[in-house]
């Protein structure tokens, strides 16, 4: 049937343009006869086929239908208008994936590969991958117009099936969302201004508060001599309220930071029991002041979770201080740690009045207090539980509450256990998960880069030492790892090798920097850039090379990637070419000169370089391994024997020959990680 429509469409395109002007009312089979009271309408009967064509033609969005192989069969007027191609040019000639940004197609293929645990090649297959499996598929992609300009679109892909349920083609509907994107940008700016305002106001308020609370604290502490009882009473009121104002400011700032996604969470492996013990210890004074006992009822087993320990302490503290404040004197607050369905549960139980029924739905809302006067007397800010919720959400956990058996309330925080959390994280590899690890021993240089990367939407962790770098890479998933080769604690090359052993960062892009202070004071720090996929030692482990190449090929998404192999050992060249087989195109060269000629004439997806080439050092070639846009070609380095620090120094001086700026680094990261050279809309709140 689809073919029939295609045929009608193609043979009759010129006639259809005019239909959209006419007002067409369809009278179906079950027309007005079934509703006798309806006044008779003036109806024009039109054949369904014509109406369908009118819909296609008049719709203000792109409707593109293809055959099963992806070749375009229908290209409506909306598609012509928005994409700048005429139907005649594309029908029977083009595939929809040609209207998309190749980098975005690669990112999509990567994402699907990670999601489905299989290798999805970019191109039409990546577009229709979900639709072909009957999975609803709506996503955002950029369309590239005939003239090269772009616009963002919401795209829906549906498989078209015949009566036997065989796929006979695909339907792509693309809706231009430039206006929406512009609105979001304006909204973002509005939010930025609000955030800035909140930050400024809270700082400006804090300065006088520091003096007020400080002065009152000294007076009530009898630092200025003993005061008469009535004066002391009034000053105490002023002092406790001043402190409450401080807490309120802190809470507002916290909430604002978390809601805007600006709060930086430093995830680590955290042992829950000792963390809870510490938190209880810190809240002892408050409990004592209220005449409440704190007791830990924890299993003796150690439970590990993936969390930011300070934030987790903050969340538990908020639950504890609520429990303390709402407990009658003489009662006990019990904190328990247990596992529950693979999750780690931290619960805080009090013996207060419990949560009133009517208040339950609002308990995590901002400034929600069950009994406002009661809570205010207890010095609460009304933000505590909503902060708990924000924190626990960010920790990938859940927070809940209920009536405790025998009276009182019980609040609990459930967090995924360490192993689950790591597994969950590794699923995100390849997705728009943009955390970066910066291995830089110079704190000042690190601060400059971290600030800049943060502003560009890349949350960045810093590892000052090699050990720290390896530890972080073992526990956190990074989209990219930046390594400064010049290190006081050993050479950068062994660090690269250690890092590449970490499964967590298999898919991360590893960029080598050689940060040097530029002699000119007003120039930015410069960094030469190498994109190192792996660093292999002799004897060459061909299996590992294959694994690494496979990953790189999936990443690159090219159907038949071209690899440049520079190696002076002819046997090794043959062995690698044979092992790689037909799925890649290998160009094997045995000298620097041949490599240069090959680079000048071809585009390569990956280079494998023996840095100790017999006829001249392969190091000289490092900074020439660039594509026509000047970007570093992903590189697998093969070096014979131990890499010594002298070699690292040599490598560094080779890199310095090709200096680039921080801007260049940022644009490479954007291009590789976001699939575009523009600020990303993928930015997550991590």
């Amino acid at each position: 049937m689809l073919r029939a429509i295609f045929a009608a469409w193609n043979s009759d395109r010129s006639a259809m343009g005019e239909i959209s002007d006419g007002a067409a009312v369809v009278e179906g089979n079950a027309g007005s006869r079934d509703v006798p009271d309806d006044p008779p309408r003036k109806a024009v009967s039109l054949p369904t086929e014509i109406v369908q064509k009118a819909i296609l033609n008049s719709a203000d969005f792109a409707i593109i239908a293809t055959d099963a192989k992806g070749v375009i069969q229908i290209f409506n007027a909306g598609a012509e208008r928005s994409l700048g191609y005429t139907a005649g040019v594309v029908i029977n000639k083009m595939v929809p994936s040609e209207f998309h940004d190749p980098q975005e197609m690669i990112a999509r293929a990567d994402q699907l590969s990670a999601e489905f645990g299989t290798t999805v090649a970019p191109g039409f297959g990546a577009l229709t991958f979900k639709a072909a499996r009957g999975i609803e598929d709506q996503y955002e992609l950029e369309y590239v117009r005939n003239d090269g300009s772009r616009f963002p679109a919401d795209i829906t892909i549906t498989a078209l099936r015949d009566e036997r349920h065989e796929i006979i083609g695909y339907l792509e509907i693309g809706v231009d969302k430039s206006a929406k994107v512009a609105m979001i940008a304006a909204d973002k700016e509005k939010h930025r201004l609000k955030d800035e305002f909140v930050a400024t106001v809270s700082h400006e308020l804090r300065t006088p508060l520091t003096s007020i609370v400080g002065a009152l604290g000294l007076l009530t502490g009898n630092a200025a001599g003993k005061l008469p009882e009535p004066a002391m009473h009034l000053l105490t009121i002023a002092y406790t309220n001043g402190q409450r104002l401080v807490r309120l400011l802190n809470d507002i700032l916290d909430i604002e930071k978390m809601e805007s996604g600006k709060a930086v969470f430093d995830f680590n492996r955290v042992e829950v029991r000792s963390l809870v013990e510490r938190t209880i210890e810190e809240n002892h004074a408050l409990a004592e002041g209220c005449g409440v006992r704190l007791r830990l009822d924890a299993a003796l087993v150690a439970f590990d979770v993936r969390a930011d320990s300070d934030r987790l302490v903050q969340a538990i503290t908020n639950l504890l201080s609520n429990a303390i404040k709402f407990s009658p004197p003489g009662e006990e607050v019990v904190v328990a740690v247990e596992t529950r369905n693979d999750a780690v549960r931290i619960s805080v139980r009090d013996h207060g009045h419990g949560v009133p029924e009517a208040f339950k739905p609002h308990i995590f809302e901002k400034f929600a207090q069950a009994d406002a006067t009661d809570a205010r007397q207890k010095g609460g800010t009304g933000l505590g539980l909503s902060i708990v919720k924000q924190i626990v959400d960010r920790l990938d956990g859940t927070v809940g509450f209920g009536d405790a058996p025998g009276g009182g309330a019980i609040f609990n925080i459930d967090l995924p256990n360490w192993a689950d959390a790591v597994r969950r994280q590794s699923h995100l590899v390849g997705m728009a998960h943009l955390r970066i690890l910066l291995c830089e021993d110079d704190p000042e240089a690190a601060i400059v880069l971290v600030d800049r990367l943060g502003r560009e939407g890349f949350p960045t962790d810093v590892a000052l030492t090699a050990n720290e770098a390896v530890a972080r890479a073992a526990t956190t998933t990074y989209a990219a790892v930046l390594v400064d080769l010049q290190r006081p604690d050993g050479n950068g090359i062994s660090l690269i090798k250690q890092l590449r052993e970490q499964p967590q960062i298999y898919n991360a892009m590893l960029v080598v920097l050689s940060a040097e202070l530029d002699p000119a004071p007003d120039e930015e720090r410069v960094a030469a850039i190498l994109n190192i996929v792996d660093w292999l030692d002799a004897p060459l482990d061909i299996a590992r090379l294959m694994r690494v190449l496979d990953r790189q090929i999936v990443r690159n998404g090219t159907t038949r990637p071209r690899i440049l192999h520079v190696e002076s050992d002819p046997e090794l060249l043959r062995a690698v070419a044979a092992a790689l087989g037909a799925k890649v195109e290998v160009m094997s060269v045995d000298s620097i000169d041949k490599a240069r000629r090959a680079l000048a004439a071809n585009r390569f997806d990956v280079a494998v370089l023996d840095v100790a080439l017999a006829a001249g050092s392969g190091i000289d070639l490092l900074h020439e391994l660039r594509d026509s846009e000047g970007d570093a070609i992903p590189l697998i380095v093969f070096s014979p024997g131990d890499t010594n620090p002298a070699f690292a120094t040599q490598l560094r001086s080779a890199l310095i020959k090709s200096r680039t700026s921080i801007d260049n680094l940022i644009s490479i990261l954007q291009k590789r990680l976001l699939g575009s050279s523009q600020p990303s809309h993928h930015e997550d709140a991590a």
Binding site: H203, L209, T210, G214, A215, A223, V264
Partner: protein
Amino acid sequence: MSSLRVLHIDDEADILDIVAASLSLDPKFEVRGCGSGADGLAAAAEWRPDLILLDVMMPVMDGPTMLTHLRENPQTADIPVVFMTARVQQRDLAHFKSLGAAGVISKPFDPMTLAAAVRNCMQPVHAG
């Protein structure tokens, strides 16, 4: 026993007063206050205090800049510096530590325990 000499730099005169009053609760402390980074640098070189309490956000010369200047002068390079700031995020804490701060005390502070907090930031050799 010798006293613990603390130089406090803050552009808010009221906060200078409060800090002086708070630290003087501990009889071993001797406190001097300066209202700007430039005055602070001169006082640090001349008086050679045991510790410098330094406000972060100040006009003309902010705390981190002043710290850099202190480190450049051999006379003041080894004096431990403790930042006082309203910005208390963990990330900032790490940032200040990486600049070489011996500690960070958040504002507002508890005046009755400020002296103890400052002592905590001192090298063990000064703590006696």
